[in-house]
Symmetry: C2
Subunit: 406 residues, 2 copies
Amino acid sequence: MSNTLAPLTAEAPLANWVGAVKRSELQKMLSAASSPDIISFALGLPAPEFFPREALSRAAAAVLASDARSLQYGPPSQLLKRQIVDLMTQRGVKCHEGQIFLTSGAQQGMNLLARLLLDTGGQVLAEEMIYTGFQQVIEPYQPNLLTIRADPETGMDVSAVESILERGARPAFIYAMSDGHNPLTVSLSLGNRKRLAELARKYHIPIMEDDAYGFLYYGAACVPPLRAFDDQWVFYIGSFSKTLGPGLRSGWIVLPESLIPKLSIVKEASDIDTTTFAQRTIAAFLEAEDFNQHLVRLRREYKMRRDAMLCSMRDHFPPQARWRVPDTGVFIWVELPSEVDAAAMLSVAIEKERVAFIPGQAFCVNENCRATNCMRLNFSNSSPELIEEGIKRLARAIGSYENESN
Amino acid sequence: MSNTLAPLTAEAPLANWVGAVKRSELQKMLSAASSPDIISFALGLPAPEFFPREALSRAAAAVLASDARSLQYGPPSQLLKRQIVDLMTQRGVKCHEGQIFLTSGAQQGMNLLARLLLDTGGQVLAEEMIYTGFQQVIEPYQPNLLTIRADPETGMDVSAVESILERGARPAFIYAMSDGHNPLTVSLSLGNRKRLAELARKYHIPIMEDDAYGFLYYGAACVPPLRAFDDQWVFYIGSFSKTLGPGLRSGWIVLPESLIPKLSIVKEASDIDTTTFAQRTIAAFLEAEDFNQHLVRLRREYKMRRDAMLCSMRDHFPPQARWRVPDTGVFIWVELPSEVDAAAMLSVAIEKERVAFIPGQAFCVNENCRATNCMRLNFSNSSPELIEEGIKRLARAIGSYENESN
């Protein structure tokens, strides 16, 4: 019954913005790098060996046994909202259930907020080096992106934000990662957090605060996220992906209660509900288990991996390479000697040394931004042993690239 | 640490399209109608008592026990794609795994395709009475909606589609439900299916075929969906929501393989992955269980509910009321005497008789469309006993409304 009437070479015309999207050289390389013999420091994957599988299995069985509506359409889980309020308290944020909106992970959180706030061709204020997933979120809007510098030591240049707003710009929102910036790994100082929240309040510009890594900190008691300093203009995005498992697709937004009805319309149009099954399974898990103990273990294990990577880099990387110790998140940002082109070096690394990373330039949103000699390394998804081996290989790739260039 | 600096009455400015969205009187009424003492024929909910909970619980436990990556980010399940190819064969559609794209339910399928195909202000061709969830999907694009009539007896007016295209319109896509139209319940004839697919091919206009209810047919061997008559211009949307459980949020699109890379970009930006956990759980369920037997049971049970509703209506509704027997889906479309305003009658029905439905006008996309005396009744989510009681109540509401009007 398939069509045999006409030769079908034509293709459906796509939306304008799609035409501009190309699969990058980087994506092709990384897809080649998914082979199992490659040690990958490329993606921000959590370690599957720490997913609390048995406890989640018990939780899933319990919700399926107790209530058929765990597989039905349904209103968001009030129990899970209450539990998220408690988690937010631990992050230093006061909020209530009426301000919690459940999402299919942090990525959808960004997506729904962009749809709520941004018109096609509208303005967005962001750093010139940002998470590629956020770049993808705003791409369909073909936005006018106002960019500011981010310093690998101090993070977002809040003075630059201020002067842009002072000069009259009124972006639809500001995108910010105050803890464990992706890719720079830096966290904002307390002073800069307060100042940024104050600017949002003063100029009535919402901040989309992406806190995907906020629960993975390795230092002492952390400074709270931006949301702790303003409950009206900071829209906080959190996720269970890095702490329980991304395969559950569960995250949340904390935002002013008055916006929830509008956001519900956006969500309903997108995918109706966040999976009731996963919501209830997570809620049952949080009821039955000691999530804090799980987080403590996760931080301890990831800190060991971070430190293994730092030690190996110190032992094997060229002395001109620079990095800082990240206190939050799952990445290390490395500046190689300025003559190294990290994107070119990546193909050597993959082909000869079987090791992968993301070149810094991939995070740049414009051409003023220069990170050609930088790379982002993930430490959460490899064992300390593999990390050591991977860093040795990477050091050889850097060395051979340097030799070739000389 | 919450803000105390300024009185915060201002709100973030929202995207233009959001400003136009208002919570309707209908939504307020239906939200009031969620009380447990109300018999609701309003929403298109499947019956939770038929969800295969035990089998899904076994499947979930098996995938969690066998592989930590069942909670990880990951490529779409190849096994599930193969199983969907088999299901499509049962629907009379030939396709292969390379043409299957997994989604978070049919609603997301529509959403992703709209984003792929539609520009802001672009044209969409659809019937003047359509599924409200589809209306929500295109609303943010503020589209130019080209509408055609749909007949409750024969469905989409394919001649009208032809003349619109002949006159030169080139919409981004045509939205169609060839089986179990929501809300009209009608299915297109074989001839009209072939003709519509031919028009898509001739004019190079993609058809978004929404087959949410296609597996729930109550008659003899069904005519295959539009996708069976063209594999290049018909983009088919399917779902496990009505057959396994909407709380899993799992559906699929069948589309030309060449579009998968672009659609993957849209999906990644939306929510990265469709929950790996649900994908694998469903795949394990389909491996271990007899899904066909489950479908046979579901059809038998739903047919009993449909017939219970038809019998009760015949016994209790006023003689001027009209309906047809739906051969697919979970709704009955009823035309009441022309003087009845179903929306006004709904408030009587809810307040006095504790029974709810959706008034026909809610499905109209423009003012030319008149369905004020119509209502959509769902039969899948109430037992035959409740259906009988609910129809009696509804008959009383119609009667008392008629008396009041006279």
